[in-house]
Each structure stands twice: as structure tokens, then as C-alpha cells.
Amino acid sequence: MIEFRRVSLTLGNFALQEVSLTVRKGDYYFIIGPSGAGKTVLLEAIAGLHLPDDGEILIDGEDASHVPPEKRRIALVYQDYSLFPHMTVEENIGFGLRMQKRPKEEIRGRVDDLLAAFGIEHLRDRFPGTMSGGEQQRTAIARALASDPEILLLDEPFAALDPVTREHLITDLQRIHHEKGLTIVQVTHAREEILRMATRCAVIIEGRMVQEGQADQVFQTPESTVVARFVGMENILNGVVATSADGLASIDVGKQRIIAVSDAAPGTAAAVVFRAADVTLYLRDREESTARNQFEAVITAVVPLGGPLTEVYLDAGFPLVALVTRRSAEDLDLTPGMSVEASIKASAVRVIPESS
């Protein structure tokens, strides 16, 4: 287990500020955030490559702020793979074991196993410069696993791979994660990777940890608008809380009023966020509905997403995005200029008071 307690560090003109996080044994932990947010530096700090200026790093409950990287048993795989260009695949994978001065036969056996596990036996004597991205990535991960680390750090491992190779590698990593109970910390900015694999995740923006928790929780209940935007909430609207009673709040957004499950105090400036998928469109007013939020809306644009889904942009007195299936968009013949009824369940709407 690794724990950061308000860790700050400055690196040139870049800084991590009071980052706190907890990676538990067996976690598949994701770190997400925009480019330049400090995700790689955070990984390097976990690996022990940067000393914190302030705060504490605990490994298994003990202060490890000054434990050097070679003693942490945390392996790091960079986005660029960083294979040693002057060593063959076999020598690359065996490097860690050679550093630990393990017997030759043991090194050979372990390297053989890893070459087989990653299906790269045929690359044994090749130098990295002649290999494809996928081959290099496999070698890099095999090398990281060779010295039997407790935590594997992966910096955007799939970013430069073609879709087929990426699928293979995701399967490999999930297998390793399950079979060995290996703790994995992975940096990404692909949301689908997180939803597929993550147990926990952290959002980091401009060197600050803005939210940490169970992956689905972070995705369903973002605590700030930056996180909401980052986890793909399509509708983020600014408003003011008008009334609040019985756990329901109504928020004035533009000329409309949106009801949400929230106990925010009246008068508070707040953002209303919800997913486009939680917006339902109807052709005409329905008499009865449990949805608290019903709005007359005019379609401004219909954007097919290339797959089975279509995004519909509307003006409901405030800008609104809905996600519908391409089939229903076609069946209802949704076109710009058309008037529809949009409804949003109050339970799907999240209210984020402005201060947070």
C-alpha cells in the first residue's frame, strides 16, 4: 500500500501541490487528467525518483519519503517504453535481476517465462530499435515484471498502439492484475480504459489532486465542474439555487428551473451537471411522467457519433445536449428546428456548489 499525505514538490517550473492519495494492495488505480497536469511527475514521485519538498509518502504505513527508487519495489513503464537500446530483449528483461545479483540460471529461467508469457520468444536476441511499438511495449512490461515488483506504474501504456495490439495488451494486463493480485497504477486520458479496468481513480489537474475515489463514484458524482467536464459530463450549466426542501433543490438556469436531488442552500451559486444519456426526448407533451424536469426545447443540431449513438443539441432556454440511439433519431426524424419535449430525472442531476 502506498499513501501520499499532502505531498508537494517543485520540478523546474512545474509543481505538485498537496497531493494526497491512497493506493491499496490489489488496486487497479487510474490517474487521469489533461496533458501537462503532472501525471507523469506523480508516477515518478510514487517510484521515488523525486523527493517531496513537503508532505509524507508512506509505503505499508512506514515513512518512505527518502527511500530510493531501487529499494521501493515499484516498477515504472514510460509511455515511450524506454528500453535500453544497447541491450537485446533478453538483456533488457533480465536487467533488474542482474542488478539484484541473482544467479544466472534463475535469471535465464525467469526471462524465458516472461518471454513466453508475452509471446515474444522470437524477439529474444533483437535490439529494441528494430521492433514495433507493440513489441517494445510488451518487452517493457515484461522487464518491469521481471524483478517481481509490488506495484506496477504505467504511463499511458496504450497511447501509441494500434487498436488490435491495445486489446491484446489490455487483456494481458487484466490477467496479470487478477492472477498475481499485482497493484497497478496507470496514467491515462482515455475514459473507456478507466471504466473498463479501474477499481479506483484520481483526477489531477494543474498539479492538484481534485478528486479521488472509486472509479464509478468519481464518474457518477464529480465534486467539481472540472472533474465533471473531465469525466465526460456533457451538460454543465451554471445557475443559482432558488429553493431547497426535502432533499430536493431547484436551480435557476437561464430562464428555466431545474430540479435536482440536493440540499444546497437557496441563494448559492451552483453548477448543474448531468450526462447527455440521462436526457430523454419526446415528440409531444406527455400527460404523466415521474421526471421532474420537463422542458420545451428546439433542436439546434443533430450529430451522429459514428457508432450506434447520436448527439442532439437543443435550446431549452439553456443549452442542452442529449444522447439518443441513431435508430430513435431516425425513427423520430429528429432535425434541426424541430420542437421536442426534453426530460431529465432529478436523480440524474448533480448540483455542485460553486465554492468546490
Binding site: 531501487e70 537500446p85 542488478m99
Partner: protein, 270 residues
């Protein structure tokens, strides 16, 4: 491809012509001397077999090797620190490294002399235990070391900087100490630059004259010998010695260049 197209590219052609002028000087100077020397082969052979000349060439080259060996011991660590760290006052340290480049060589010679002479700050304690830099081999080595150091340190540092820091980081997470990562990753990957820096510095060292004669006129390095012959025996005497030195240098540098093919070669496309 480049060879077929260069003649059609006017810019490259004119650049090549201008560049050719500078090469022309060197070639012309060499051919001019070669022609003169080959006109009197018996004299050339006599000079080439002269024990004083041979001793002096060997002394110069050996002192150069010695200076580079010392430079490696102290210069490689310094180059690594400069390549991998950022600290306040780094600019000052870099300027200090480059000082021997800026100074006239006579000035460098005086600096070295007053530090290492028998009464000098460093020279005196050594002299008290019977070790003299003045007019002695160690003095030559020290003078060479001083003037050659920037060439070696800067080239080595560039080599270290070319090694991605990620490689070192990965090596460390795999269980290598910083020194092991340096030894197994950084050093092999920058071997070529270190080697080239050493050759450059050695070339600079064996060519030194002004700084050396200040502290050690004797034993005569080749530059001193050529100057001595020039002032006592005239142009013919000195130019023949110079020609022999050219041949010796040429042979050595060709060998070193050939050897460099086998050093630090790796595919760095990754």
C-alpha cells in the same frame, strides 16, 4: 540520393565552393610541405631516425595520454553532475570549465606555472617531498590537462545529456543504484562521445606549446623541439621535424578513427 542532387542545387554548390576554400588551405599547406620534404629523402630519414625527435614525439603523445587519463577520472564525474543536475551557480561552474578556452595559452601557462612551481601553492608541498613539476614530465601533463579539459568535459557532458533520463529512471526502479544506472546505462550509451571528447582533448594536449614551455621547457615536447630547431637550425631543420610529427599524428588519428567504429555503437531509434 544526396550525391546525385547536390550538383543541381545551386545553393549547395556555392556553399561547397566556399567551404572548399578552407579545406584547400589545409591541403595546400600539407602538400606544399610534403613536396619540399620528399625532395630530400635522406635528410628526412635522418631526422626521422633522430633519437631526440623520436623521444620527443613519444614523450608528447604519452604525456597527452596521461593527461587524458587523469582528465577522465575527474572530468567524467563533473560532466555527469553538469548533465544531470540544476543548481544555483551552475552557470558559474560552466564558465569555470570553459576558462582555459578563453585564455591566451601563455596566460594559461603562467597560471599553471605559478601554482605548480617549486614555490607555488601546490608545487611547494610536492617539492618538499622531492617531487617537482618544473622542467619535468608532471609539469607537461599538468599544463596539457589544463588546456585540454574543456574539450573533454563539454563533449562528455553532451554525451550524457543525449542519454534520456527516462532510461536511468527505469533502471533505478528495476533495482539499480544511481551509480549502477550510470555504469550500465549512461556510460555505455555515451561511450562514443566520451571517446570523441578524449581524442579531441588529446589532440589539443599534444599540440600545446605556450602553456607547456612556461613550466617545462625540458624535457622537450615536440612543439618545443620544433621551435628550438627553428630558432637554432632554421626552417629546414624545423620543418622536417614538423613533417615527421604530421606523419605520426596522421597515423595515430587514422587508427583512433578506425577504432571508434567499434565503440558505443547501438541503434538509438527507440
Amino acid at each position: 540520393m544526396a550525391q546525385t542532387s547536390i550538383l543541381r542545387d545551386r545553393c549547395l554548390v556555392s556553399f561547397s565552393l566556399l567551404g572548399g576554400v578552407i579545406l584547400g588551405f589545409t591541403v595546400l599547406a600539407l602538400l606544399n610541405m610534403t613536396a619540399k620534404e620528399l625532395a630530400d629523402i635522406p635528410h628526412l630519414l635522418r631526422v626521422a631516425a633522430d633519437a631526440k625527435v623520436i623521444d620527443s614525439i613519444v614523450l608528447t603523445m604519452a604525456a597527452g595520454v596521461n593527461a587524458i587519463a587523469i582528465l577522465m577520472i575527474f572530468g567524467i564525474p563533473l560532466a555527469y553532475v553538469l548533465a544531470r543536475t540544476d543548481f544555483r551557480g551552475k552557470g558559474i561552474v560552466e564558465s569555470i570549465v570553459d576558462i582555459p578556452l578563453m585564455l591566451p595559452h601563455t596566460v594559461a601557462g603562467i597560471l599553471v606555472y605559478i601554482l605548480f612551481m617549486k614555490r607555488g601553492l601546490i608545487g611547494a608541498p610536492f617539492y618538499s617531498i622531492g617531487f617537482s613539476f618544473e622542467d619535468a614530465y608532471p609539469g607537461i601533463v599538468i599544463a596539457m590537462l589544463f588546456v585540454a579539459s574543456p574539450y573533454f568535459i563539454n563533449s562528455t557532458r553532451e554525451g550524457f545529456e543525449k542519454v534520456p533520463v527516462h532510461l536511468e529512471n527505469v533502471a533505478r526502479t528495476l533495482g539499480a543504484s544511481r551509480f549502477s544506472a550510470f555504469r550500465h546505462i549512461v556510460l555505455p550509451l555515451s561511450a562514443r562521445d566520451i571517446y570523441n571528447g578524449a581524442i579531441l582533448a588529446w589532440g589539443r594536449a599534444i599540440g600545446e606549446f605556450a602553456a607547456i614551455i612556461m613550466i617545462a621547457y625540458y624535457p622537450m615536447v615536440i612543439s618545443t623541439l620544433i621551435y628550438y630547431r627553428f630558432t637554432t637550425g632554421g626552417i629546414k631543420e624545423s620543418s622536417t621535424v614538423a613533417f615527421v610529427m604530421i606523419l605520426a599524428c596522421f597515423a595515430v588519428f587514422m587508427t583512433l578513427r578506425y577504432l571508434s567504429r567499434f565503440i558505443g555503437r547501438h541503434d538509438d531509434r527507440v
